[in-house]
């Protein structure tokens, strides 16, 4: 009798568990199907395109092997874009990590008007990036740039012995090298808020008593930073850096809006070159191959992000 009841309740319990399992699958299915159909399938198609000779006019899939990759590698513009992408990413994100650490430390303090300062500092990330970049386009204008105006006003520009030359304007986006610096500046401007808020989360998670104990033991502020704050926040700083890298390495908004890769491809990056080749010129196969050169870097970054997240969880 009692055995019977036990097995009945076990059966009932099993029934609920089964239904829970089914319910779980049913609830997860739509998200997984969506992702498989709209991320997984296009990813596979991108790989197939990169191995084919498809164009927008003739999008049929005829595989031609690795020809597109070889062609891309032998194209000087592609090689320039590849190099630019690394320069653009590494320089801008190094600037971001340093500045965001300084800014986050300052924001940790209490002061009046914090909400306003916070709002202003976050604007580059919270406003749509294409619109913020348009503001910069007008600031970098070849004639009406306010930066040039200030330079002229203080005598750095437009007179005979001026530091930046006798011409009346800097041509921020028109001179190779300078245009890259201008584009990097805007990218750093845009990612800085995100990195700052991530760093802020890391800094405020350091136990206060640890720092106080070190102070009691006679550690100088410099030493406390070096021995406690930096090691403890290293994982979160890395996460800030890695996300900045992902968003910079794969993005084209800033370059597209400011320079379209010019002058003469000196600010061309992989993502913008993908767009110009694959969409504007209609060479789907080449475009797909160019974009897939981003993939190995992304995979490495993703692995590092996972590692860092694990490490912080352990601590």
């Amino acid at each position: 009798m009692s055995g019977n009841a036990a097995s009945a309740s076990a059966g009932e319990y099993g029934g609920i568990a089964d239904r829970e399992g089914a319910l779980a699958k049913l609830l997860i299915a739509p998200a997984v199907v969506y992702i498989a159909a709209m991320i997984g399938a296009p990813l596979v198609l991108a790989i197939l395109y990169s191995l084919s000779n498809a164009t927008t006019g003739d999008p049929g899939l005829r595989l031609v092997g690795l020809r597109n990759y070889r062609e891309a590698l032998s194209d000087p513009v592609f090689r320039l874009a590849l190099r630019n992408t690394f320069v653009f990413t590494i320089v801008s994100q190094t600037i971001v990590v340093v500045l965001s650490r300084i800014l986050a430390t300052a924001l940790l303090k209490n002061f009046r008007g914090k909400w306003l300062v916070r709002f202003l500092i976050l604007l580059p990330w919270t406003a749509p990036i294409s619109l913020g970049t348009i503001g910069w386009l007008w600031m970098y204008d070849s004639i009406f740039s306010p930066i040039d105006w200030v330079f002229r006003y203080v005598g750095l520009l437009g007179t005979k012995n001026a530091l930046f030359g006798f011409q009346t304007n800097m041509y921020w986006l028109g001179i190779p090298g300078l245009s890259m610096a201008s584009v990097i500046m805007v990218q750093a401007w845009r990612i800085l808020p995100l990195a700052t808020v991530i760093q802020l989360a890391g800094l405020s998670s350091i136990p206060k008593d640890l720092l106080e104990a070190a102070e009691v033991d006679g550690a100088t502020p410099w030493r406390r930073t070096l021995m406690i704050t930096i090691p403890l926040t290293l994982p979160i700083t890395s996460i800030a850096f890695l996300f900045g890298v992902v968003f910079t390495f794969t993005d084209l908004v800033v370059v597209y809006v400011l320079t379209r890769g010019g002058p003469v491809h000196t600010t061309q990056v992989l993502s913008s070159w993908t767009f110009f080749k694959g969409i504007e010129a209609g060479d789907l196969a080449q475009g797909a191959a160019i974009s897939l050169f981003m993939f190995p870097v992304l995979a490495v970054v993703a692995i590092f992000i996972l590692r860092m997240a694990r490490r912080t969880e352990v601590v």
Binding site: L123, W125, P193, I236, D251
Partner: protein, 280 residues
Amino acid sequence: MKSLGKIARRGGLYTLLGGFAFFGAFPFYWMVIATFKRDHDLFSPLNNPFLFNEPPTLDHLRLLFFETHFTGYLWNTLLVGFAVVVITLATAVPAAYALARWARGWGETLGIGIFLTYLVPPTILFIPLSRFASFFGLQESLWSLILVYPTFTIPFCTWLLMGFFKTIPKDIEEQAMIDGLSRFGAMTRVVLPLGISGILTVVVFAFTLSMHEFIYALTFISVSAKKTVSIGVPTELVRGDVFQWGPLMAGALIASIPVAVVYTFFLDRFVAGFTMGAVK
């Protein structure tokens, strides 16, 4: 002496923060100036560009609202944002709940897997997706954006909500089931109301991320009247090669500020998702 040092440090702090705030916000101040400046004033290289040398004007705003598709862009953006929010909620809420509640080994792995798809960038997907769009006849249609934007909102929002649902104790549901609610009833009637702040966060993100999106919109939509703000303003307010700076800046400003205000309130939660719950 000590208070003097303190004042100096305060001064240093304010200078530093002031500098950063200036750096962050100057392009937007620059938009405000251009929005209200007369063309003649705007295009005189000798005028002080930071001030109004001639009385301000509303001409640019009039032009923007009555002679361009700007209101159409706003409307399209709202429409797409709203639809994306609906799709995101319908898929991410159940998935996140299930992953948070029944997550042992596989749930956690699947959750991380879903999050990682967020790292697959639009710049790899937009070429194949543009073929999808033309295959289904959705080129030049807002539907293409509505269907594609969830590719970045679902992974991120599922991950974010998973964290929220994990903080709601299981006991509450169990109590509700003892009180006679079904398993599903416990979820919809007890857990969802408690997770409302998480759901609100997701609504804000799905909307702002859709509004920020640039590459897909640039690729799929080329008819002026169908554009969203993020591509309409940078690509349409140009006559030939000449930018119409006044209306252009006005459009950028008007579309930026409201979304920036809302986003600011929710940014901390957004970042909690990035740090993967590593920082409590």
